[in-house]
Amino acid sequence: MNMQHVLIPGFEKLASFVFWYPFIMSLFWIAGTLIYIRYRDRDPKVDFSAVDWPLVSFLVPCYNEEETIEETLKHLLALDYPSKEIILINDGSTDGTADILKEISRNHPEVRVIQLYENKGKANALHLGAHASKAEFLICLDSDAILDQDAPYYLIHHFLHKGERLGAVTGNPRIRNRNTLLSRIQLVEYSSIIGSIKRTQRILGKVMTVSGVVVAFRKKALVDVGLWDRDMITEDIAVSWKLQQRFWDIRYEPRALCWMLVPETLKGIWKQRVRWAQGGQEVMLRHWKVLLKWKQRRIWIVYLEQWISTFWSFAWLFVTLMLLVTASSPQDMLFWFTFTSFSLVFMSLIQLFIALKIDSKYDNVKRYYVWAAWYPALYWIVNTVVVISAFPRAIRSRVKGGYATWSSPDRGLTKSKS
């Protein structure tokens, strides 16, 4: 009998869980993705000229965005969506953003600007934008993101076509900076792992979150749930849960492309991912009562999957450390060369390739297959450690309360743009 089994009763079961959980979930995401492709990804084309498009407010909260906001605005102004207003909201920036917005306001009468000189977080800025907006439909966009010409049409069309229960439509974020290894690995991750989870959740009918980088909301639904939570670090996850608990639907529209920047340093990724993980855990801690309500049963699977994934991260760390401590030879420490590791890498490769193939329909990502090996071999460990690191922060944040403010992670090579 192995040493770990003697020292810790149930160790074998825990180790089995560490293996079987990601293996089974991988099969689940693959199955969901294939069903989505078979039945959902065949949405009829939209004749843009045959629709009476309603007024849309584009809300762009800005915190220290002097490098990116002008480019974002340039592309927003170039959108040919027929009825739009653009509202830029400065959230107490400490760089030159306030001056740039003042200048924009002078030069572009079609752009409205709200200058708040206190930094109170993205959710607070969106609150101001929602109050200022004259439209019923809001498209919230990150200030470093560029919306595709067709994206507003695809997003808003959902509300007009059998969308009476629809609270939000989330778009398809694509990565603009693809020059470094880290951004390429993230590109593979977004296209495959994140993409397949989103597609499966769409089939389930409940999603973990909208993509805060580009999402369209019905204002009535937002008001119904009290707008965004200003005390949550990830307002997009929090509002998704509030909407779904009030039975507002959320849809995913992969044709609504939005080009964004991702961090290109390990520190930047770490900061961003810890915030995401913390945000998810904060929401799970806040909304635990969904498990007590039969009416909320459709969201249980998403809720439980989040908790089990969090538990899995800790279990993986524990099992790995135990195996390292009790290893009797250096060969025992070569975790990459075990049957369980091989099986998980095998599943991960299948999932990556199916999802990448599907995703290349929207953006030519096939050439980035070459970087796909990083995910199953190493990169997934970053995400696991991030979840572990975020957990105490989430608990601390729930106890402490107050406004949730944050700054954007590094945007890599924005300055060297051609």
């Binding site: 199955a31 969901g32 294939l34 069903i35 084309k45 939209v46 004749d47 843009f48 009468p109 409205r112 600007v113 709200i114 200058q115 708040l116 000189y117 607070n124 609150h127 101001l128 929602a130 109050h131 200022a132 907006s133 010409q149 067709d150 009476e164 603009r176 900076n177 693809r178 020059n179 470094t180 290894l181 089939i203 389930l204 009535k220 639904a221 008001v223 009290g226 707008l227 005390d231 080009w259 920047l261 990459w336 060369f337 075990t338 091989f342 095998f346 490769l349 030519n364 970087w371 090996a373 990083w374 199953p376 071999a377 190493l378 107050g402 406004y403 924005t414 060297s416 743009k417 051609s418």
Partner: protein, 153 residues
């Protein structure tokens, strides 16, 4: 018909910058090592499926104390789990479409009024109207009621 419309040119959108050569070479070398590892994994399972026991995959099977038959059984279990999920999700989608697909379960909601916004108790009616009228507006202090204040209001 969907119109043919000017799309964003990828050249315009993508951030173009050259990576330092040394970094590129290192990342290619490490990627190659990872691909080699992935290739070993793929061959390990493929060789079991086709019943081959060459010296490379054979060593691994001995080290993992497993046989081609056991690996095949494992893959069949994986396939069965996949089929179960596929069928479950297919039936779930089918049920939802049949049960709810044709229903309008909610009336088309009316547009949000100033009164609706007022009910949130974050801003006064005057403030909301002022915000909606303004082309450019400045606030030194956050005009929205504090998140804690609101909780206890």
């Amino acid at each position: 018909m969907e119109q043919s419309r000017p799309r964003l040119n990828e050249e315009q959108i993508m951030i173009q910058a050259k990576q330092p050569l040394a970094r590129l070479v290192i990342s290619i070398i490490i990627s190659s090592v990872f691909w080699l590892y992935c290739a070993i994994v793929l061959w390990f399972f493929l060789s079991a499926v086709i019943g081959v026991n060459d010296r490379y995959s054979g060593v691994l099977k001995i080290a993992f104390k497993t046989t081609n038959g056991e690996i095949r059984t494992f893959l069949v279990i994986g396939l069965a789990i996949f089929c179960f999920f596929f069928l479950a999700l297919f039936l779930w989608r089918f049920y939802n479409k049949k049960r709810f697909g044709s229903l309008n379960r909610r009336k088309e909601p009316a547009y949000t009024s100033i009164k609706d916004l007022e009910r949130l108790e974050l801003l006064s009616k005057k403030q909301i109207q002022e915000l909606q009228r303004a082309h450019y507006i400045e606030f030194n202090v956050n005009p929205l009621k504090h998140t804690e204040e609101r909780k206890h209001a």
